[in-house]
Symmetry: C2
Subunit: 335 residues, 2 copies
C-alpha cells in the first residue's frame, strides 16, 4: 500500500490538530495515521478524512512505528523521544525549539532554504512561528542584496501559546466587559485589552527567549551569521496570526518596486495589491500565505525597506510548514 505511516506527538494541541487538518487538505500520502498525546488528553478523537481518529497516550513503542513523526508537544518530550524515534529509522519533523540551533539539524522553511534538508540525519526542525513569517518575507530581498541589519517588533497572537491561552483571552475579555477583575493564569499579566512585552524567559542580556529565537533562527536559515538582527516581541490580545513591523537594511540600494516585484514572485507570499493596502490578523487567519504590505523606503536608514508582515502562526507558522517539510523530503526522495 502506497503512502507513509505518520505519527503525530502532541496531536491534541493547537498545532497538532492543525497538522492533521493540513495533511488532509493537502492530500499528503498517509498510509496510516497514529495520534499521540499526554495522558491528560489521550482518548480524545480528531477528525481525519471522514473518520474520528482516537488519540492514544504517548508510548514510545507505538510512536516509533512510523516513517514520519511530527513532534509538536513540549520541549521535554522532543528532547527525550525524538532521538529514539530517529534511531528507529523514522524521520522526525520537530516543532520544538530543542534542536533548532543544533548544527547537525537542518532548520527548514521549504520556500527559503530547501537545500538544507539534503544530508539530514533524521531530525529536521521547523522554526519558531515568528521566524517563519519573517524569513519568508525577507528571503526575496536577501536574494537581491546582502542584508546588513533587521529590526523587528512583533504583535503576537495568543494561539501561539495554545488552547489554554485562547481560553484565557476569551474569558478575561468577558470578565473585563462585565466590569470584573480578570486573574492571569497562563500569562504573567492580564492579556485582555493589554500588551505583554514578555514571551518566553528573560536572558541576562535583557532579551527574551522569543526574541533570541527570531534572531538566531533567522541567521541560521539565511545561513549568514553576519546579519545584525534585533527584536522586541510582544503578546497582543488577538486570537490568530502574528504581525511584525520590520525594517531591513540592505548592502545595495533597492527600490520599493523591485522589492515588491521580488515579493510577488516568492511562493507563499501575498503582497497587498492596492496602493496603501495592508493586511490585518483577522483577515489572514486560517490561511497559509504570508501577507506583506506597507512596503516602503525607510526614512530612518539608507538602503532601508520597511514592511508589515502578517501570518497565521498555527498554519504557515507551525503546521503547514511542518507538512511542507515532509512534502519537500518526499519530492527530494529523502523519505
Amino acid at each position: 500500500m502506497a503512502g507513509y505511516r505518520v505519527s503525530i506527538v502532541g496531536a491534541t494541541g493547537a498545532v497538532g490538530r492543525c497538522i492533521v487538518a493540513v495533511l488532509e487538505e493537502r492530500g499528503f500520502p498517509v498510509r496510516s495515521l497514529n495520534l499521540f498525546a499526554s495522558s491528560r488528553t489521550a482518548g480524545t478523537t480528531i477528525p481525519y478524512r471522514g473518520d474520528e481518529v482516537e488519540v492514544r497516550d504517548i508510548a514510545l513503542e507505538q510512536v516509533r512505528d512510523c516513517d514520519i513523526c511530527f513532534f509538536c508537544a513540549t520541549n521535554q518530550v522532543s528532547r527525550e523521544m525524538a532521538p529514539v524515534v530517529r534511531k528507529s529509522g523514522a524521520v522526525v519533523i520537530d516543532k520544538s525549539s530543542v534542536f533548532r540551533l543544533d548544527p547537525e539539524v537542518p532548520l527548514v522553511v521549504p520556500e527559503v532554504n530547501p537545500g538544507a534538508v539534503d544530508g539530514h540525519k533524521g531530525i529536521i526542525a521547523s522554526p519558531n512561528c515568528s521566524t517563519i513569517q519573517l524569513v519568508v518575507a525577507v528571503k526575496p530581498i536577501y536574494d537581491l542584496s546582502r542584508i546588513r541589519r533587521i529590526w523587528a517588533a512583533t504583535y503576537q497572537s495568543v494561539s501561539g501559546t495554545g488552547h489554554e491561552a485562547i481560553d484565557e483571552l476569551r474569558e478575561q475579555t468577558a470578565t473585563v466587559l462585565s466590569n470584573g477583575v480578570p486573574v492571569p493564569r497562563v500569562y504573567p499579566r492580564r492579556i485582555a485589552f493589554n500588551i505583554i512585552p514578555h514571551i518566553d524567559s528573560f536572558a541576562p542580556s535583557g532579551y527574551t527567549g522569543e526574541e533570541m529565537k527570531l534572531i538566531s533562527e533567522t541567521k541560521k536559515i539565511l545561513n549568514d551569521e553576519g546579519i545584525r538582527i534585533t527584536a522586541t516581541a510582544a503578546r497582543v490580545p488577538v486570537f490568530y496570526c502574528h504581525s511584525e513591523a520590520v525594517t531591513v537594511e540592505t548592502e545595495e540600494k533597492l527600490s520599493v518596486s523591485v522589492v515588491v516585484e521580488a515579493l510577488r514572485r516568492m511562493p507563499g507570499v501575498v503582497v497587498s495589491d492596492e496602493a496603501n493596502g495592508y493586511h490585518t490578523p483577522v483577515e489572514c487567519a486560517g490561511r497559509d500565505d504570508i501577507y506583506v504590505s506597507r512596503v516602503r523606503e525607510d526614512i530612518g536608514v539608507d538602503n532601508g525597506i520597511s514592511m508589515w508582515i502578517v501570518g497565521d502562526n498555527l498554519r504557515k507558522g507551525a503546521a503547514t510548514n511542518a507538512v511542507q517539510i515532509a512534502e519537500l523530503l518526499m519530492a527530494r526522495g529523502l523519505i
Copy 2:
C-alpha cells in the same frame, strides 16, 4: 481675584474632560472655567471642584474672553479659531496638529524643552501622544550622547481616537464573543482582537500621518533635524495607554546602567525596578508618568539601546502635558 480665566474648546471629548480633571487635581489657579464644544454635545455638564459646569456651544466671542485657551477639538476648529483667540490676547495651548511644525510656534514637552516657550507668540502646541512619551524617554539619553537614529514601533490604544473608538472596541468585542460579525464604523477595519497598521492618512511615501508626526515632532522638540527616525504605528485593541518598542542608536557608547540612571533622574519617568521588570498598558492607565522598562543593550546595532515605553495617551500624552505647559508659562511669568 487671583488666577486665570480658562477656556477649553472641545471640552466633551476624551482629552477635554481629562484637562478639566487635571486642572482640578493639580490645583491650577483657575479664576473662571468656560467649557465649549460643538452643538452636538453642548449642554452636557462636566464636574469641576464640586460643581457641574455646563458646556456651551462654541461661540468665538465667549471663547476668547479668557487668559488661557486649551484647544482639543478638531484640526479645523484650531485652524479657524486659535489665531483669533490669540489676537485677543489670550495664550492658546493647542492639542491639534495644525501648528506643531510651524516655526513660529513652540512645540513643548515641559520636562524636555521648557526653554522653547520663551518668546512665544501666543500659540503653544502640545505634541502628538506617541511623540510625547517617546521624547520624555529619549531626552535623558540625548543629554548623554547625540542620537544618530531612532527606530520605533507603536502599539496605540483606541482612546487616542476618542470616545466613539472606545465604544467601538467595547461593542465589537462583545459582538465577537457572542459569535457575531462586527461592523467597523470608526476604524477602517475591525479593531476587536485585531491590529490595524494604519493611523491617520497615508502619504505618498507610504508612511502614515501618525508615523510622520512622531518623526517630525521628535526632531523639532529635540531641536535636531539630523536624527534619522523611522516608525511603524499600529492601533491595538487596548483602551488606554500607548506602548512603544524603541531602539536608539547613539554616537557614543552608553552602558545600560548609565542610561537607567539618567532615566531615573528624569522628572516624569518611572523605570522598572525589578530585574526584567516591565510595564503593561493596564497598569499605567490613569497615571501621569512615562514608564520605561526592558532597557537593554541592543544587539542589532553598535551603540544601541532598546526599551519599552508605556504612557497614558490621554494624561501625559495629551491633557497633563497641556496643563503642564500652562504651569510652565506661569512659572516663567509668560502668562
